[in-house]
């Protein structure tokens, strides 16, 4: 916490970003463990910035970050906005339903317009898997995937991993259980890549209809995801876990005939005190939010001493600062 660093516009502990060469952050599947750790270490420095009386550094002064959100989002959008502002960037928020997107402007037109307006960073949330890859291929913007369809949500996974690492230290050999609607979850996918890269054991647990078909036994020999364990029995999955992450259950899964009833889902897959007791004492409880308390997670667990759900939100800003900082080289 020396003052020179602040005057130089650098967060303390981060002098430069030599190990970071990537132009985009699209998912964690392509990051090396070293790159993931660099983000986490940078986030640690950003956390220090956020703890200051005036939580700002001018590292991204003159950089324009556009948050283009095709899906409603409160926490992710606000988190990116706060992160960009804390680094001194100019931020423009575009919510798809308010913009010309409704007039039939295509994603690529919108992306090219944003580029022509002089932005350097595009933070894109889209309901269609792969949309940020399309934007990355057809523009020179730095693209940050803020969630695409069922596919990936790398900054969420990074903040989950950051939170886990703060409490557990080295993640090698640690058992992390992700419970719920795996099939439609970009959070589960990105976490699977990131956690396994750092040596954690990942267990995905949910009803068979909410697991991706290719992860069910007897499917193609090739791997859809890194090596991990798939369970349909939550009690078994929880055995000896170091952390458990409950995923939000979308109501439309019931309408789609994927589940018989909410009651049955709660009975089989809710993360509650009884099931948590099968994990390691003091095992951490995470949730990417927004929570349906009483459905995928019992309120007494969500608000217990083991819960780090609020801390995830706080850490999200630091992690996104780290991502924006590394992508732009602190100088874009």
């Amino acid at each position: 916490m020396r003052s020179e660093a602040r005057e130089l516009g650098q967060p303390t502990g981060v002098q430069e970003a030599p190990a970071w060469q990537r132009h985009h952050l699209l998912d964690l599947d392509e990051l090396t463990p070293r790159e993931i750790e660099l983000v986490l270490d940078t986030a640690e420095a950003m956390r220090e910035v956020l703890s200051r009386e005036v939580p700002r550094v001018p590292a991204l002064r003159g950089v324009t970050v556009v948050n283009l959100f095709y899906e409603p989002s409160t926490r992710t959008r606000a988190s990116f906005e706060l992160a960009a502002k804390a680094l001194g960037a100019d931020v423009v928020n575009i919510a798809a339903e308010q913009s010309s997107v409704r007039k039939g402007e295509s994603l690529l037109d919108t992306v090219r317009t944003i580029e022509a307006l002089g932005a350097q960073v595009l933070v894109l949330r889209h309901w269609q898997s792969g949309a940020p890859y399309l934007a990355a291929r057809h523009s020179r913007l730095h693209v940050v995937n803020a969630g695409d369809g069922w596919h990936a949500h790398p900054t969420q996974a990074l903040l989950d991993i950051y939170t886990l690492r703060r409490h557990l230290g080295d993640l090698r050999g640690r058992k992390v259980v992700i419970v719920g609607d795996i099939a439609h979850s970009r959070v589960a996918r990105s976490n699977a890549w990131g956690l396994t890269a750092l040596g954690a054991r990942v267990v995905l647990c949910g009803p068979p209809t909410l697991l991706p078909p290719a992860l069910r036994p007897g499917e193609d020999e090739a791997a859809a995801l890194p090596p991990l364990q798939v369970e349909t029995d939550l009690a078994q999955a929880m055995e000896g876990a170091d952390a458990v992450m409950a995923l939000r259950l979308q109501r439309e899964r019931m309408e789609g005939g994927l589940l018989p009833s909410l009651r049955e889902y709660i009975r089989l897959y809710q993360v509650n005190g009884q099931r948590l007791a099968r994990a390691r004492p003091g095992a951490l409880v995470l949730h990417p939010g927004p929570m349906n308390e009483g459905i995928e997670i019992a309120p007494e667990v969500a608000h217990s001493a083991q819960s780090v759900i609020q801390e995830q939100v706080t850490n999200g800003v630091a992690v996104r600062m780290a991502v924006l900082y590394l992508l732009t080289g602190g100088k874009a």
């Binding site: 998912d27 994603l107 898997s129 291929r137 078909p213």
Partner: protein, 438 residues
């Protein structure tokens, strides 16, 4: 004597197991003589030494997009693409705008093709009115107007009772029903094969069962009615097994497979890792039925080799750039295939996985027999004396790179962009006229 001679090539005519070096003489638009020195007297000659001389290729499944979708393809551009691919006869699917469901439209299309077409176009008319799947189109009148088969391709006839009636009614006309087999409840919302790639990419999958359930139903109805059923674009192991079982029982169902389902797999959607993030989400590999895993492609190849699948059809589905340059979920389905079909399939021959004669059969006389096209055009798909004077001359060793912008088709949508292929059509003769020569 007058005529066009193709001299000194390796002549392949699988309809009678012919494989010899010699000449083909074409006079008055028909094959006049075949054999060593048969072309000595001709006033016009092409030297085909070192090249393959095949009956003009026949594609029983393509989309020429006219009328109504001329921004994707026209009869003129589509048949030029056909000529460049070695095809001299193409059957076009009726999912145009409006759909080809009236005799007047069928006649219009034939006239238009006669004027603008570079090769022979045989129209396939709708099975149901407006392709709506609710009532039969006027099948007898469509047949009188020149339709060679019926299909709602792009959509299945989902109502099994209606499919039964279609098979019964068309049987009396001696024409096949070509069925696009897809259980729409099982495929709903799917954009690629349901498997590990879809799970990896977070895309909604189309299970193999969506095809197999529909194939099983269609075959059961063919067996029950005795109608002529032709199954379009078979793509799964289970569908091949069903065909094998029904054909063993003597059910006269026929089937086709596309070059892309034989040679490409669902990994093509992911790309080869050169894209940002390592994932291409290649919309040019989005097709219906979707590209499947390797085991399915191998089962289709085995089915083709043994004759359970009769023939190869391109399912040439050209699209405009903007139909593909978008999010994967929104992209149109289809591959522009006429100009790459033979070369892509020749890779199977080069790899020793399919005999050359069987490949040529599957692209000439086999599709003719599958749809009964020789009833309209005796000798079609062969080099028999008196047959239509259609010939494709192929350099089987010539290597070339697929460059979408150089395709004659308006549809530049191919997942083979940049790929090296071995084997190229160097000349196409249709009715005794050279319609393509490199």
């Amino acid at each position: 004597m007058t005529g066009l001679a193709v001299r000194g090539g390796r002549l392949l005519d699988p309809s009678r197991g012919l494989d010899l070096t010699g000449d083909v003489l074409i006079a008055d638009g028909r094959i006049a003589a075949v054999g060593p020195d048969a072309g000595r007297q001709a006033d016009q000659a092409l030297d085909a030494s070192g090249l393959l001389v095949l009956p003009g290729l026949v594609d029983v499944h393509c989309h020429l997009r006219e009328p109504g979708l001329e921004h994707k393809e026209t009869i003129e551009t589509g048949t030029l693409a056909a000529a460049r691919g070695g095809f001299t006869t193409v059957c076009c699917m009726p999912n145009t705008e409006p759909p080809l469901d009236t005799p007047a439209l069928v006649r219009w299309l034939r006239e238009r093709a006669a004027q603008a077409g570079h090769v022979r176009v045989l129209p396939i008319a709708c099975t149901t009115r407006g392709r709506q799947g609710r009532e039969l189109a006027d099948l007898a009148e469509l047949a009188e107007a020149g339709a060679v088969a019926f299909s709602d391709d792009g959509e299945p006839v989902s109502d099994p009772a209606l499919l039964r009636r279609a098979l019964e009614y068309a049987a009396a006309l001696g024409l096949p029903i070509i069925e696009h087999c897809e259980d729409k409840a099982l495929s709903a919302g799917g954009v690629m094969h349901e498997g590990w790639v879809a799970a990896r990419l977070g895309l909604r999958g189309i299970p193999a069962a969506a095809e197999e359930a529909a194939v099983a139903r269609a075959l059961a109805l063919a067996a029950a009615t005795g109608g002529r059923l032709h199954i379009a674009h078979v793509s799964t192991t289970g569908a091949v097994a069903l065909l094998r079982a029904y054909r063993a029982r003597g059910v006269p169902a026929t089937a086709e497979v596309t070059p892309h389902h034989l040679c490409l797999t669902h990994e093509a959607v992911m790309g080869a890792g050169e894209s940002p993030g390592g994932l291409a989400y290649d919309t040019n590999a989005k097709v219906n039925p979707p590209l499947r895993p390797r085991a399915d492609a191998e089962a289709c190849l085995a089915g083709l080799a043994e004759g359970v699948i009769d023939c190869i059809a391109t399912d040439h589905a050209p699209h405009a750039l903007e139909d593909k340059l978008c999010e994967f979920d929104l992209a149109a389905c289809g591959i522009s295939g006429l100009e790459t079909a033979l070369a892509l399939c020749l890779s199977l021959v080069h790899e020793g996985r399919l005999p050359l004669l069987r490949l040529v059969e599957a692209m000439t006389v086999a599709p003719v027999r599958a749809l009964g096209l020789d009833r309209h055009l005796p000798g079609l798909g062969t080099l028999a004396v008196g047959a239509p004077g259609d010939v494709a001359i192929v350099d089987p060793q010539r290597e070339w790179t697929v460059e979408p912008e150089r395709l004659a088709s308006k549809g530049k949508n191919t997942p083979l962009a940049g790929r090296r292929l071995r084997g190229r059509v160097v000349c196409t003769i249709y009715g005794g006229r050279v319609v393509w020569q490199e």
